[in-house]
Amino acid sequence: MNTQAVWAIYRFEMARTGRTLLQSLVSPVISTSLYFVVFGAAIGSRIEEVDGVSYGAFIVPGLIMLTVLTQSISNASFGIYFPKFLGSIYELLSAPVSFFEIVIGYVGAAATKSLMIGMIILMTAGLFVPLQIDHPVWMLIFLVLTCVTFSLIGFIIGIWADSFEKLQLVPILVVTPLVFLGGSFYSISMLPPVWQTVTLFNPVLYLISGFRWSFYGAADVSIELSITMIGVFLASSVAIIWWIFKTGYKIKS
């Protein structure tokens, strides 16, 4: 294992984050605050408590998930797409590093950044609503697993994309809708029965539900199911990464 290389990639990527730290952190903080103003205060005041929590507090886990998912994907996909775009990927390919090490370096850095953002949002949320976290350890496990899994997915997208348009396609076309429809801002019990069933096919629902459970102890689906689903996500991403590695898909000519 070339740990020096993993560390070099990680630090290089984190340095990029450091340079753009202000933008990286300011924008989620602002958008979270806006969500609280609009959904929490304006709309929330007309909505009764959901599952025994005030609406403002209810949307905190969903908001964090929304940002963490999008950030993980965009950080990781950009991280590997950029050297591809610049051509500086030649160096990664000619270095004595395995694909696995490259993945750890890039995905590790992307996941770290989204974890940081997730924490910042949690703290920002604390300014608007009283926070209650019933299962802090589980909360952290869910958060870390989500950051890692979606950074892996982002990495795959970055490898697949051969234009900036494609790079943004998946997050806009797939991820954002899934997150919005996955119960970020509502409990699925608020939906008509047909839509409840449809929503059960949305994988993101299980993440948000599990995450919310770690806060308030209430969930749309069972916690075991949530954990299983994260495992499935993680395993599929790893499998795809492994396949890319085996076939050299889109990395080497």
């Binding site: 020096q4 290389a5 070099a8 990639i9 340079r19 030649y90 160096e91 004595p96 590093v97 395995s98």
Partner: protein, 318 residues
């Protein structure tokens, strides 16, 4: 070790390329059955027109492109099964300038060192940056550097992990005279330190100046690899082409001492002579030719230069 032989132990190949071929996805054949041994410590210059396959060959050895056939070993290890070993020995300066624009020089170079599994070594990096006149620029962002400086950053990256083999893909393309001379100096210095250097160039003069051996590639085929000195010897000589009325199967015994080469299926004889020698032997050759009864149609002399050799080779293979 004694003087002249100290640096080049050409008996030991550090890179062995065997029957290497590459067909790109689009179906284009970029390399055809190339076999080449690169000696430990030598400076090999690869010449060839655009699209000849030089970059493809280098990219395969470095791990950027996958070969379609054949094999390469570096220091006795296969580049695919033992890539960690082979790649750690190799530094690559790519043809295109590809750098992260918003990084600083020293971070970019330090990153390369780490990527190749070496511990950070400020002293060594400083030495490299100083030798490339980049030390003053170490905290500058890449985007603020001139083209020539960016190229030097690429070289610094390649040297950052102390490679034993250095590939320079057109290091002097778009580089001013001053910097070109500096690069030659650097290449010699590295070579003196025992680094094997493979460079590609479009400047024949450049190959002449710094290389120990010269290889010519065209359309994916290696047409020639020869010691520069052997080539230079040919250059100091002139050739006389003797066109005959009718082709002959063999050079008559009476002319054996002239070491004539037959060309064009026997209808041309080529006599190579040293212009600096007191006697060129032309008069005597013509007299002896006459005596054999061969009928001449035309006579022509030409200076063979490396340039001429190159142009001829490339033309005849196309």
């Amino acid at each position: 070790m004694a003087g002249a032989t100290q640096d080049k132990d050409t008996s030991k190949a550090i890179v062995r390329i065997s029957n290497l071929s590459k067909v790109y996805d689009g179906g284009h054949t970029a390399l055809k059955d190339v076999t080449l041994d690169i000696a430990d410590g030598e400076i090999l210059a690869l010449l060839g027109p655009n699209g000849a396959g030089k970059t493809t060959m280098i990219s395969i050895i470095c791990g950027i492109v996958t070969a379609s056939g054949g094999s390469v070993t570096v220091d006795g290890h296969d580049i695919e099964t033992d890539y960690r070993h082979t790649r750690s020995l190799i530094g690559l300066v790519p043809q295109e300038i590809t750098l992260e624009p918003f990084e600083t020089v020293s971070r970019t170079v330090g990153f390369s060192r780490g990527l190749f599994g070496k511990r950070a070594d400020k002293g060594y990096i400083e030495k490299v940056l100083r030798s490339l006149s980049l030390w003053d620029k170490r905290n500058d962002k890449i985007v603020t550097l001139s083209g020539g400086m960016k190229r030097r950053v690429l070289i610094a990256k390649a040297l950052s992990h102390e490679p034993r083999i250095l590939f320079l893909d057109e290091p002097t393309a778009g580089v001013d005279v001053e910097l070109r001379k500096d690069m030659w100096k650097l290449v010699r210095k590295l070579s003196d330190d025992g680094v094997t250097i493979i460079l590609t160039t479009h400047y024949i003069e450049e190959a002449e100046t710094i290389a120990d051996r010269i290889g010519v590639i065209n359309r994916g085929e290696l047409l020639l690899v020869e010691n520069k000195d052997t080539l230079m010897q040919r250059m100091g000589k002139k050739q006389m082409e003797i066109s005959l009325h009718s082709p002959i199967d063999a050079v008559p015994d009476a002319l054996a001492s002239y070491r004539l080469e037959r060309a064009n299926g026997g209808s041309t004889l080529i006599y190579t002579y040293d212009t600096k020698a007191e006697r060129t032997g032309i008069t005597k050759l013509l007299a002896d030719l006459n005596a054999t009864g061969l009928k001449l149609r035309d006579l022509q002399t030409r200076q063979s230069s490396l340039e001429q050799i190159f142009v001829d080779l490339v033309r005849s293979s196309s």
